[in-house]
Amino acid sequence: MSRLNTNYLYLIIFAALIGETDIEVNLASVIPSYNEYVTVLLAIAGTKAILIAMFYQHLRYEPKSLSTWVIIGLVIASLLMGLSFVQLHVGH
């Protein structure tokens, strides 16, 4: 990819991030259910994080071993947080 295209891509990602932030701020008026609202908000935050990691941190262009390394770490961390959540809220 040429340098010009790369810069263009960075600007597109930036626009997407700003757009998603705008959606987040206005989401409450669209989704009345609190649980759904929180879920969608966190999903949008997740996609923003993925965009930053993929394109600004260049994870998309790194060797597969490195991206797998990062993804495995995040999956394990998420599972552990999930386990804490189960412990707190299930089976009482």
Binding site: V25, A49, A77, V90, G91
Partner: protein
């Protein structure tokens, strides 16, 4: 003479050589072993007879706590990492760790953290609530002594040291193995260290976050652990999420050492090697799913209780595989009962007892009865001392000839073993029978019926403690006058034994090559057998062909790591030795002169560190699967960011924990202004764009674009902090301080920690900008910018989650 002394002091203060640092770790941890042992002996003396008054309850509690912390954090792991520092590069065929100065810094942070922990005795009172630091007793209103704050500072420094070490070892072991040395060819000790590092990397950031939360609660009056919604259950979760893997963190290196020693002295490869390593991998993973068994009595719910019972029983199975493998290795073997082998076997025997008694505690019903009693004390001391310490002492004897070039006295070592094992059993076995004696009590009534067993244990304590004098005497004397050992006195098969004893500063004249048939070659020399299990050949490298090579001598001296650690020590001391400023609620006045000194010294040392010409060569012809195409520094930064994910994960998890427990949480927009959050998000996202544009400009050789983009990043970072500070002041003006409520506590701590990260990123930006103005980074040397970007974008990602959590829901 004076010149020699000066050179020697300079060497040990400035060294970045892995072997020197290994020796420093070993000596420091042995010294702290003595300190922790003296505390233990004094406690045992106090408990030897009913109604004893040698120690007051207050002092006894301090001794219990500091003994536990010293042994777990400042003796067991550092002793193991002393070996790892010295031996691992030799075993995997590299000349040093990936980041030698970082390695030196890890050691100095470790040393000063230990000093700080001991210093806590001299400032009112040391921590006195047990190494588990259970909340809410640790809240300032219940434990106002500043010794506790100093202890927290020491734990933070120690955790920083461990994180640096973990990153360093992980990159080294993944990226710098000798050509042909595939992971599966490594022997048990490197495997054990690799898995220990994985556990450290996930466990210690959780502990760091827990201690930071605890310290902020105490020093700044936040209410995470003193609130009903957080309180003891939150602490239990964040502490034991670290605390149980910590058991394996201190156990694994000893198991690795034992699994290297036993095949050497049995003259057979480790039986079922692959299954042993597989079992260790399973334990490392499962270790993070068993922490709830420490919380059976906290009312965590029946589903969780069942889950943790299953995982706790499950984790014992891979240990069975390890023990069976070690025993099977001995089958039909002509075992040479030298001291390292004796200690290894003794450790296995103790491990079996400690492990089996642990299974009892997986049962909820038994745990209810046993958890607060001396049965548990006996169980974990059989593991921590009986398996870990005894195994590590085996390692001391095993590698003593390699480290010093001299043999220890075998007869004295054997006497040491016999007395140690007898003393150990007399000390700890009676505790299994003290089923009804509560832990951590300072004394007991004569009619309790515990007197005889306690007296027996105390006698055992003196025997065990006294036996260690033989160890120190033997090692000290032998290091001076012991007979020369030669390169391979044990006829062992792992690579370190192919080198002279002690190895030259640069370790290898020629980096060895490992072949699939199990041989090791140095250049064109004939192959030597590799001792790891993939080969069944037995042969004895003599190391004679590997002489010194002065041209490869690596000086590697740097004053800055020690100075930086000292600066951090001074800073944290200033932060934590302040006397209580208010009686109720308790708050502390930091000692500002020391803080200022720490900051100034830190800036000077950072400046010196960054300006120093210290080149670390990356050898391309090495075995580096699975990260062949990833540079060392980039892998290190990603690994560090992994630790950061856990750190922020615990902060955010704690927020979720209290939030989902609190029905009265204020709705979005009522406490924190959404417009502020939105503005900060825009600013930080834009700063990410300028940071990536800076890298793009550098790649394009566009100096003015680089300077403008970096300048933009700096200004945007400052703008973010400016808005944040404005928001904080505005909240303060409305009476919303950090101790106002749980929402305020979680907000101030989480966004404050994030703000510190932004500030650190800005400091890096200033450094980069100064270099960019001088013309750097635009001639293909832009990797530093790329590494900075990884960090800056990570800080941005964290905010991407904080914004909705604090402003929108």
């Amino acid at each position: 003479m004076a010149e020699q002394l000066r050179a020697s002091v300079k060497r040990w203060l400035y060294t970045t050589n892995h072997k020197d640092i290994g020796v420093l770790y070993l000596i420091t941890s042995l010294f702290l072993f003595v300190a922790a042992g003296v505390l233990a002996i004094t406690m045992r003396t106090q408990l030897s007879v009913p109604g004893n008054t040698i120690l007051t309850a207050n002092v006894y509690n301090q001794f219990v706590t500091v003994h536990g912390m010293l042994m777990i954090f400042w003796v067991l792991s550092p002793l193991a990492f002393g070996f790892a520092n010295f031996i691992i590069p030799l075993q995997i065929g590299c000349r040093d760790l990936a980041f030698p100065r970082l390695n030196s810094m890890s050691y100095w942070f470790f040393l000063f953290s230990g000093v700080m922990m001991i210093l806590s005795f001299f400032f009112g009172a040391a921590p006195d609530l047990g190494w588990t630091l259970y909340s809410p007793q640790t809240a300032a209103q219940f434990t106002p002594t500043i010794g506790f704050n100093i202890g927290a500072g020491a734990l933070i420094l120690m955790t920083v040291s461990i994180t640096m070490s973990s990153v360093n070892f992980l990159v080294t072991m993944f990226k710098m193995r000798a050509p042909g040395l595939k992971l599966r060819y490594m022997s048990a000790f490197p495997w054990a260290i690799l898995l220990t590092i994985f556990m450290m990397l996930y466990a210690f950031p959780s502990f760091l976050a827990a201690v930071v939360l605890l310290y902020v609660d105490r020093a700044f009056g936040t209410v995470y652990f003193s609130s009903i919604q957080g309180g003891s259950l939150l602490w239990d979760n964040v502490f034991w999420f670290f605390g149980h893997p910590e058991v394996y963190i201190v156990l694994f290196p000893a198991i690795g050492i034992i699994a290297d020693i036993i095949p050497t002295f049995a003259r057979r490869p480790l039986y079922f090697f692959k299954y042993v390593i597989g079992s260790m991998v399973v334990v490392a993973m499962l270790s993070f799913a068993v922490w709830g068994h420490h919380m059976f009595v906290t009312g965590i719910g029946i589903v969780s209780t069942k889950l943790y019972t299953v995982t706790t029983i499950a984790i014992s199975l891979p240990f069975d595989v390890m023990v069976i493998s070690l025993i099977e290795t001995l089958g039909m073997a002509k075992l040479r009962l030298k001291a390292p082998a004796l200690f290894a076997l003794g450790a296995v025997a103790n491990f079996i007892v400690g492990g089996i008694t642990g299974i009892y505690l997986a049962s909820v019903a038994l745990d209810y009865g046993l958890r607060g009693t001396y049965f548990v004390v006996a169980h974990f001391h059989y593991l921590m001392v009986g398996a870990s310490i005894i195994g590590l002492i085996g390692g001391l004897y095993y590698w003593f000839p390699k480290i010093t070039g001299r043999m220890y006295n075998e007869k004295t070592a054997k006497i040491h073993f016999v007395i140690s094992m007898i003393g150990f059993q007399i000390l700890y076995f009676p505790m299994f029978l003290l089923l009804d004696m509560p832990r951590r009590i300072v004394t007991y009534a004569p009619d309790a019926g515990w007197g005889l067993l306690n007296l027996t244990a105390t006698v055992g304590g003196f025997i065990f403690g006294g036996a260690q004098l033989l160890l120190f005497y033997n090692l000290y004397r032998s290091s001076r006058v012991g007979p020369l050992s030669g390169p391979n006195p044990w006829e062992a098969w792992t690579l370190e034994w192919a080198l002279p004893s002690p190895p030259p500063p640069h370790d290898f004249d020629v980096i060895p090559t490992f072949s699939a048939d199990g041989t090791i070659r140095f250049g064109s020399s004939p192959g030597l057998p590799n001792g790891s299990s993939h080969s069944n050949e037995i042969g004895y490298p003599n190391g004679s062909s590997i002489g010194s090579h002065p041209s490869l001598h690596l000086e590697g001296l740097s004053p800055w790591p020690a100075l930086m650690a000292f600066a951090a020590f001074i800073f944290f001391l200033g932060l934590t030795i302040g006397k209580p400023a208010n009686p109720q609620p308790v708050s502390y006045q930091p000692f500002w002169p020391l803080i200022a000194d720490g900051v100034i010294l830190g800036v000077i040392s950072l400046f010196g560190y960054s300006r120093e010409k210290f080149t670390v060569h990356e050898d391309v012809h090495v075995e580096s699967w699975p990260f062949k195409q990833v540079p060392n520094m980039k892998l290190g930064i990603w690994t560090f960011l992994g630790a950061e994910v856990i750190f922020f994960g615990v902060l955010i998890g704690s927020y979720f924990f209290v939030r989902t427990n609190d029905a009265a949480w204020p709705p979005a927009g009522t406490l924190f202004d959404i417009r502020n959050g939105f503005a900060m998000t825009l600013v930080l996202l834009t700063s990410s764009l300028t940071a990536i544009m800076a890298l793009a400009s550098a790649r394009a050789g566009n100096r003015s674009g680089l300077i403008a983009s970096l300048g933009g990043t700096l200004v945007l970072g400052a703008a973010f902090l400016y808005i944040k500070a404005g928001e904080w002041f505005s909240l303060g003006h409305s009476g919303v301080f950090q101790n106002y409520s749980l929402p305020a506590t979680s907000y101030f701590i989480t966004t404050g920690t994030h703000g510190v990260h932004v500030f650190a990123g800005m400091c890096m930006t200033v450094y980069l900008l100064a270099n960019a103005i001088k013309g750097k980074y635009v001639k293909g040397d832009h990797t530093t910018l790329e590494h900075f970007g990884l960090y800056w974008h990570f800080v941005d990602i964290v905010w991407v989650f904080l914004f909705p959590l604090f402003y929108l829901i």
